[in-house]
Symmetry: C2
Subunit: 483 residues, 2 copies
């Protein structure tokens, strides 16, 4: 005892001594009213200075764990023993877990999906390339903000969001042509919390939701977790199949439609202006609230400017826009935003407060300062140039090694690859994994089992040029052996 104290250099020594003694006492290694070694004894046993032990004992007394008796020494306090009756209380949690929890675990791709192992060439990620992060500007932004109002940043903030960031993002959305009159904004912990809040806020009448098929797998998961019955509408090269969409709208009533009109995940398709107008006309006619996912908007490599759908409804309020910088800036900062009718935002704000009080003020203020320092535009220029370069490299490699495939995607951090109908990308994945290459099988993004079996998504943002060439070559060679 005592002499086995292992000192580390990451914390003050007296605290490590205190914690050692504390654990001994709380784990019952020392009994109530038992006398402790004198400071001199303990300092010898632990090979630390006596003043260190004095400090540690003072802290332990302060915490009520020990008491001193004048001229006699220090003793373990009484109240400390853990009640015997208490220990070993067990439950079988499987009898106490909700269906929601069970489903959340079942749908969890991080646990059941095809993840990448170390050393593999992985095309599974569509997170930004951290090598592009301009850390010095981030540090600058943090220090700027901290010196301006550090105390404010570290104390409680507002559920709706950090005011300066809200103001900045309103402006930002207006610059995209959005008419904010009658609308309001809510800051969320990224797109995901925003989506989850909106789904929770929508009343279920039909219990039906419309979406593109294929679509963002996290969105599918969350729609299912909210018990929506999903109807998928096929994607054409310029967006939703309008005929199908109208058919579905005539057949059933829907509580919501979730769409990714720009650089759709996984297909990368940008819905054409004509289709955008028609989609909104239909949703309006059939009174279907629409959720627009703007996650990739900034990453445009070709074609002309695209505005978000919400920019085209003027003072209209039928559309809920979910924004995020996670694909262009720093996903580690969990900041997203919702733009919607002010009445809806008022409800969402209360839900947000009930669930997480507010989004990290530090994340929000750091992001705000970074943006208003003018770093975003410069960063975006650099990032876009780099991703565009990789995007074009991937396209070239695909044309060379997978000439039999149809490619789609005009922007974002991924491309969608379609093999001939009979081809099975799950088999391809299995074979490629053996050669150290991995990607996301396209069926992951489809609503029904058996759909998209001949497709795959290639995320390229975090793969370097050599590995892009090597990886796609291996995929191509492997694919040819399978036809």
């Amino acid at each position: 005892m005592y002499s086995d104290l292992q000192l580390t250099d990451d914390r003050p020594v007296y605290i490590q001594v205190k914690d050692y003694m504390k654990r001994l006492i709380l784990k019952g290694g020392l009994q109530a009213d038992q006398k402790l070694p004198s400071t001199r004894e303990l300092s010898t046993l632990m090979r630390v200075s006596r003043s260190t032990v004095l400090l540690a004992y003072a802290e332990l007394e302060e915490e009520g764990l020990i008491y001193a008796v004048k001229g006699k020494g220090n003793y373990v306090s009484a109240a400390v023993d853990t009640p015997e009756s208490a220990s070993g209380w067990t439950l079988d949690w499987n009898n106490h877990v909700s269906d929601y929890a069970i489903q959340a675990e079942q749908y969890d791709l991080m646990k059941h999906g095809s993840g990448a192992e170390r050393g593999e060439i992985s095309f599974t990620s569509i997170a930004p390339d951290e090598k592009l992060f301009d850390l010095h500007n981030v540090k600058r932004a943090f220090l700027d903000r901290m010196s301006l109002e550090g105390e404010v940043l570290l104390n409680y903030g507002y559920a709706q969001g950090y005011r300066p960031l809200m103001k900045y993002l309103r402006q930002y959305m207006e610059n995209k042509g959005v008419d904010l009159s009658g609308k309001d904004i809510l800051i969320t912990n990224g797109f995901t919390e925003g989506f989850d809040l909106v789904l929770g806020a929508l009343r279920k009448k039909s219990g039906r939701a419309l979406c593109e098929n294929p679509t963002h797998h996290t969105a599918i998961k969350n729609l299912k977790l909210h018990n929506f019955h999903l109807t998928g509408v096929e994607m054409e090269s310029d967006g939703l199949h309008l005929g199908q969409l109208e058919q579905e709208l005539m057949k059933h009533s829907y509580d919501l439609a979730y769409l990714v009109p720009s650089y759709h995940n996984p297909t990368g398709i940008v819905t054409s202006p004509a289709k955008r107008a028609e989609i909104i006309r239909l949703m309006n006619q059939y009174h279907v609230p629409m959720i627009e996912d703007g996650f990739n908007e900034e990453l445009r490599y070709s074609g002309s400017h695209v505005s978000p759908l919400i920019a085209s409804i003027g003072k209209g309020n039928g559309l809920v826009y979910l924004g995020s910088f996670s694909k262009v800036l720093f996903p580690g900062l969990r900041v997203g935003w919702v733009i919607a009718d002010a009445a809806l935002i008022d409800y969402l704000e209360s839900m947000k407060r009930a669930r997480s009080i507010h989004t990290s003020t530090l994340d929000q203020s750091l992001l705000y300062q970074y943006l208003s320092n003018g770093n975003f535009d410069k960063y975006l220029k650099r990032a876009r140039a780099e991703y565009k370069r990789k995007y074009e490299l991937v396209v070239r490699c695909l044309r060379q090694h997978l000439p039999m495939c149809r490619i789609s995607g005009e922007g974002g951090l991924h491309l969608f690859v379609q093999f001939p109908a009979a081809f099975r990308t799950r088999d391809l994945l299995a074979a490629c994994k053996l050669k150290g290459v991995t990607f996301t099988p396209g069926d992951t993004f489809y609503l029904e089992p058996g759909q998209g079996l001949n497709t795959m998504r290639l995320g390229f943002s975090r793969v370097n040029d050599d590995n892009i060439r090597k990886g796609i070559r291996i995929i191509g060679e492997t694919a040819r052996t399978m036809q």
Copy 2:
């Protein structure tokens, strides 16, 4: 047009010029294929350098908003017009909002509670006093961590939490005597998200939940939002009324019990060791999963050391512990943690991923670095000394000005005050507000209307000494005029 550009100094000028033109184009102020002013013309109109305009035009072309015609100039792109059919799509959101959203709004005390106005002496807050924040150590911690792994911090992290922080907190809980074998940890966006996740993860059989009465109003709100029927057990000066507790347990089965054993909110009561043992014995006997709220644990001013309940169940798994530093450290960093049976944490992790992917890595890593730099223990010492001083001042003032009242609270950032039965603190509040003093009426924390009408909670952490004296004097004087 153009000459009305208002330049601000917070962003590069060329970006402001770009945004001005962008908005003009997207708002339809400029038509498709309309010719733009020459760079020379625009620079004169806007009183900016010509190179600035050149940069702005280059960006606009890059974004596909305008196109250049050799030797002729720049023109607005075609695809930009917002489709006419689209605008003015409206919905009546009241027909589309869920009961959950409506309740969340109704129960939202920030909207419907008795908030404090500027200039008032407000005893409503139990947030930490930001004057105590050691900003230099926070900055240090941020810079330390950023230089170690800035790229990692800014990209996606893990749903379960930031590994170094998880490791630190495991150790931290072990130092409180908790046996972690068979248990695991999840990092959450503060206590509130943790509580919401756990409530969502518990299966509803009886739909009944036990809690102290009175108790934390946010907990009441969230339990109600999860549709639990609440049974409150009366508080005695040393914790729950055990007789009542056992009666209730015999009468009905319960899906969970939510308890705040240390520095209970609002009464500030610390449950006695004897009662802790008995409570756990009963929960064990009646198979009721228990949620322990450890939010205030560190803020002990008198009496002997208290361990969390979870420290007394050894290898047992029937208890879910919710931890947070929000009352002692920085609430703006939204970081809390759940300690529970590993099987339950596994479900909670998937739910967390589905709802917000993960907690801000920046918050987690900053907190970790701050803690492992050894700042916490020093900060806590300082904070505890200061709060203890204020706590004793408040007690003295209460004894002097409200001698007719019963006071409870041995720690934390608030005291609970009980007037004679017939007294009405809501009337007192109304009268005090006219004199610029406000507090939280105690009935806020009770389950049933009509309960606790003679009580109030006084949060003192953010009130300075003079205002504590003045405020309580005013409350006392006003109270006497009402008897």
